[in-house]
């Protein structure tokens, strides 16, 4: 399978009233089309992530018409937060098998401006079981808070232990134009922020943002800025919290499947994009992937492991926690940041010698996992 990320487009994320779902999608799509330098008529595939503010039975056809495209393949996709990379996986298979040549992948929502926080919370709570969990009053922060509660107890930690992770995300966002939140924060700021779902504090939870993102997957490079997709791995072991094995959520299975066949290890990667909806999310994924020992993701963050010059530079755009989260596009931002790093276009936040990257997205309650290895072919 050979596939390339030939173009990317990422809007600013934040509270930005004025565009609806399709407006954000179109803005990001046009940016990606301009970036890939292809003629729009060369785009023969379109995949669109679900939107909670603009739910539609035919999301790809709606956007195709708006953009003037007539794609051979067009559909929407839903896998929670994993949708970003699940669409990439689907697109890579399509171009690899010759069905189409260039797939445009898009997501965008006015999630902050288009609905109340209560509505967002209620809609997203659906990842819990309707009869047995949502009926209790369960919500996404609540489910992740239960994961955090168990994690802290099992590792003998306290509610301050995960705080260095959002602090690192904010430090990265300070160096990224377009991030929703950029003012630096400290561990004390995190601990003092209001409890959302104990033990998780406000600053350990990603915000709700407006924004959009898009990228193009092509069978051949469109320019010397195209970055190769070297490996893709997926795993889907459960949906609901009570069916989750905290030591084996599926994250490491997806990662290993992505690395298989590349001849590479995670330690060969120069940059990472790891899904960080909450402090506990990224902590559990990091530890399951071996990027921190069990119980030590927070300590590793405090020691600088995920900083630009750390052992595992991660989410250098600020992640979901600080760049922002507008739905499916939230997870796409991690991929776009990793591509930008490998392209050596990250300016003052450039990681030296950046040739290889790993991106990981998860959906639901660490339920759906997709890992992608990207890089310059010469470096592999």
């Amino acid at each position: 399978m050979t596939a390339f990320v030939s173009g990317v487009g990422l809007t600013a994320f934040g509270r930005q009233p004025g565009l609806d779902t399709w407006g954000w999608q179109a803005t990001a799509a046009e940016a990606a089309i301009a970036d890939c330098r292809l003629d729009p008529g060369d785009i023969d595939g379109l995949l669109v992530g679900y939107s909670t503010t603009g739910s539609h039975l035919m999301p790809a056809n709606v956007l195709a018409e708006r953009l003037g495209l007539r794609p051979t393949v067009a559909s929407g996709m839903s896998a929670g937060g994993a949708t970003s990379l699940a669409m990439l996986s689907h697109a890579a298979a399509l171009v690899g098998s010759g069905v189409v040549e260039n797939v445009l992948i898009v997501a965008g929502e006015n999630r902050a401006s288009g609905q109340s926080r209560e509505t967002s919370t209620r809609v997203l709570a659906q990842v819990g079981h309707e009869r047995f969990e949502v009926a209790l009053g369960g919500t996404v922060p609540g489910y992740y808070a239960l994961l955090a509660s168990r994690y802290l107890w099992q590792h003998g930690l306290d509610e301050r232990s995960l705080a260095p992770l959002p602090v690192q995300m904010r430090a990265h966002a300070a160096r990224k134009h377009g991030a929703h939140y950029r003012a630096p924060i400290t561990v004390a700021d995190v601990i003092d922020s209001r409890p959302v779902a104990e033990p998780l504090k406000l600053l350990e939870c990603c915000p709700v943002s407006d924004g959009g993102a898009a990228f193009i997957i092509s069978s051949t490079p469109s320019s010397d800025r195209s970055i190769e997709v070297l490996g893709i791995g997926q795993a889907n072991e459960h949906q609901h919290l009570s069916a989750l094995d905290p030591r084996a959520t599926g994250a490491s299975v997806a990662c290993q499947r992505a690395l298989d066949g590349t001849g590479l290890a995670l330690t060969d990667m120069d940059v990472f994009g790891i899904y960080d909806s909450f402090s506990i999310t990224v902590a559990m994924i990091l530890e399951e992937l071996g990027m921190a020992p069990p119980g030590q993701a927070g300590a590793y963050a405090a020691a600088g492991a995920y900083d630009l010059d750390g052992k595992y530079p991660m989410n250098t755009h600020g992640g979901l926690m600080s760049y922002g989260h507008c739905g499916v596009a939230g997870g796409m931002a991690h991929l776009i940041e990793v591509v930008t790093q490998i392209r050596r276009e990250r300016g003052a936040a450039q990681i030296a010698g950046c040739d290889l990257g790993y991106v990981h997205a998860d959906g639901g309650i660490l339920s759906a996992h997709v890992g992608v290895v990207l890089g310059r072919k010469a470096a592999a």
Binding site: R122, L136, G137, G138
Partner: protein, 115 residues
Amino acid sequence: MRDRDWTDGTPRLMMSRCDRCATVWYLPRERCPACLGDRHHAIEASGIARCVAVTTLHGAAAAGGESISLCLVETEEGPLVMGRTQPPVGPGSAVRLVFVSVDGRLMPGFVPKSQ
């Protein structure tokens, strides 16, 4: 067909046991998660469990707006169950099941076993 349980207002916590490998699960499934067998029977949980996680939801995170506390407990039958709770229940607490009515809706709650 699934036996009646708290989700339809019947004060019972029901689980399923695989006829082939005796694995027990809580959330309804067609097939056993361990052996994929499709024959199972209903059992009623004893209600004895150990709490492994607890949270209190505030503000918008609490559907409906009022602070509520949820727990995740490991039942003696094996499966994890989510329910309502209150302090002092926390991770490690030995708990037992009670049924509570919240806004006219029956829910499983977990209280200290000794209570």
